[in-house]
Symmetry: C3
Subunit: 157 residues, 3 copies
């Protein structure tokens, strides 16, 4: 991996195609920019078939499955970033993730789940994809989706 290789080139080399950016489902936006920060709404594991992955992680969904759901959620976040900025090459850094797991009572492995998104961003952006984050367990999520992740991104000035 070349340090100078841009995120769009890496994405192509990794063979990753982005989905269309998910539309907001009410009177809010998928992203709002303030200065050089881009705030992204929480996204979920929306698959290419237009359906969300559902279920509680630790009971109905395994950690390995939920890792894949977090990666898919990351692809949806990338789609929003590209739509907002024109190109992923305009991302200066991934600043912060809040990774929310629809977790069964007593679940302990939230980091292993959210790694699906963190690994994707490190793959696509290199060092610029490394971020601060929290990975925590929610009592419930909209439409019983397994994972929801929101992000703060620094934009190239």
């Amino acid at each position: 991996m070349s340090a100078r290789e841009g995120a769009e080139a890496r994405l192509a080399r990794l063979g990753l195609a982005l989905p269309p950016p998910p539309p907001p489902i009410a009177r809010f936006l998928t992203h709002r920019r303030a200065g050089d920060l881009l705030f992204l709404s929480g996204q979920g594991p929306l698959g290419p078939d237009g359906r969300f992955h559902e279920g509680q992680v630790g009971s109905e969904v395994t950690v390995a499955e939920a890792y894949a759901h977090a990666r898919l959620t990351g692809l949806n976040l990338l789609a929003v970033m590209r739509a907002a900025l024109g190109s992923l090459d305009n991302v200066a850094a991934i600043v912060k993730l809040l990774g929310m797991v629809n977790a069964a009572p007593g679940f302990r492995d939230h980091p292993a789940v959210i790694n699906g998104c963190s690994d994707l961003f490190a793959d696509v952006f290199g060092e610029a994809g490394m971020h601060a984050r929290s990975a925590v367990g929610m009592a419930s999520l909209p439409n019983n989706i397994s994972v929801e992740i929101e992000a703060i991104v620094a934009v190239r000035p």
Copy 2:
């Protein structure tokens, strides 16, 4: 609605009166400004009688009731914004909401609840009130309030 109409004028035209800004309940603040961003502490559905609406949404509280609680929470957030900035006309944009619902197990309709706040902000600020957001389910909230919402706001320089 005129595009040039300010938020304070809209508020008046909508017949909305803001409550006094809620005081913080410990050694923290209701808001802290950093550059052109104003970070607001989570607020809840504090009514004009000085009491909070309580209960789990989906079991003790209906979605329609919780929508009204989220709107009331939004009025308390507006009161904090006005106290912090002197006037709502100094709000450049609502950037981000984290909408937290005290939700019964298996609850799926968090977005319909938090819309109570999002709709209010769109009514009061127009396009500038449209924001990124997440709407999620908490295991519990302070004093068993039904809804808590925190906000990040961009301030007119």
Copy 3:
């Protein structure tokens, strides 16, 4: 307390020693700076023995114990700030905390728990340590830790 006394001097006068900054446990960072803001990953009550305090607050862990856990979490956040900025004297202000309590069903006293961290920051930074915050209840936290707190900090330009 002198208004001119720096945070490092206060820390020393309070007799507080910071732990080594906790390493991230996957492909993410303990902090990421964007402009004059420093975003910190969620930290937990990691003790000097290298072990985390565990358990649900309200059933297995008392509020008084959880207050101490939140204070300990605050010390770990301070350790990250010092590692990131060289000195706590480079902190301009604590901007925002998200205090997440691993709470038993029906728990109501989240603010009393997170005060352990808020009080520490007020002690160490004075007025600059006063922040916006939310204190809420999570269904579960990584490794069943009792408390997790993430922070946004303003950095002296």
